[in-house]
Symmetry: C2
């Protein structure tokens, strides 16, 4: 976990420099990203909060993911990840929001959407960046890989904006 | 962490037996409890989601903690923990909700409310149980101790209801 907390410390420094705030919207990571962000002392200066949107109802009702998006593209899709990040940005009034949706396993996979398929999204003041991954670890490893990918994307977006 | 995931597996078994659902409302633990709950395969059967209420605004606006409660008793109090748990129960429509509010440190303590002071609350269909602790670890240890205490209280409540 130590390299992950180093990533969150780096993201925190960049958020401080920008005077910006961060929110999280987590599905398969279940709160791991928020946990890692708050391992950094003083993170309350830039981390406002997050939603663990484990059920689809929470994605729709709290994050404002459109029902049609879930029907057309599924909960694990580029479109849902994008709307989750935008929803968290809006709900928490933050300049930046990071979102993850994926299939951690061991069950829940299909031929089109295998176990390990994950989308991470970062909403910034200039738009949304999304990345797609297919992890091949166990449930716990897939969650950590997803959290790392989300934090790396966040750091990259913050570097571009700094 | 392994003993903590064993606790979440136990809580999950009891929730399944009861056919009940769980939500989380985390302040100082920042998402750690949600992360631990979702380490268990199949946890989506009973875990609906949660709010990381790191700022007071999130406690009020999403969880419905009363402004007067924060002014009179503070964010780290028995009263706020109780309202956070009840708010999560209501927001996610769950029979059970677990909430944590505390001062993880290293800063933020006062003579009346020292670093390590933590309240954990579990809302059940029959009312709310709250416990007070004062941890003496570092930030990361205090978060883990708080998560463990919350999960232990949840397991105890579920055993009583089983």
């Amino acid at each position: 976990m130590e390299d992950l907390t180093r990533l969150t410390a780096l993201a925190g420094e960049r958020l401080r420099l920008l005077g910006a705030h961060l929110a999280t919207a987590e599905s398969c990571t279940g709160g791991l990203i928020g946990h890692l962000i708050t391992e950094v002392p003083g993170s309350s200066a830039y981390y406002v909060g997050g939603v663990v949107a484990y059920s689809n109802e929470v994605k729709v009702q709290l994050l404002g993911v459109r029902h049609e998006t879930l029907v057309q593209h599924g909960a694990v899709s580029r479109e849902t990840a994008t709307e989750m990040a935008q929803g968290a940005q809006r709900l928490f009034g933050c300049e930046y929001a990071v979102a993850v949706t994926g299939i951690a396993g061991p069950t829940g996979g299909t031929p089109e959407k295998p176990v390990g398929l994950t989308y991470v999204a970062v909403a910034t003041p200039h738009g949304v960046q999304v990345k797609r991954f297919v992890w091949s670890g166990n449930r716990s490893e897939n969650k950590r890989l997803s959290a790392r990918a989300a934090l790396e994307l966040l750091c990259a977006c913050l570097r571009n904006d700094g």
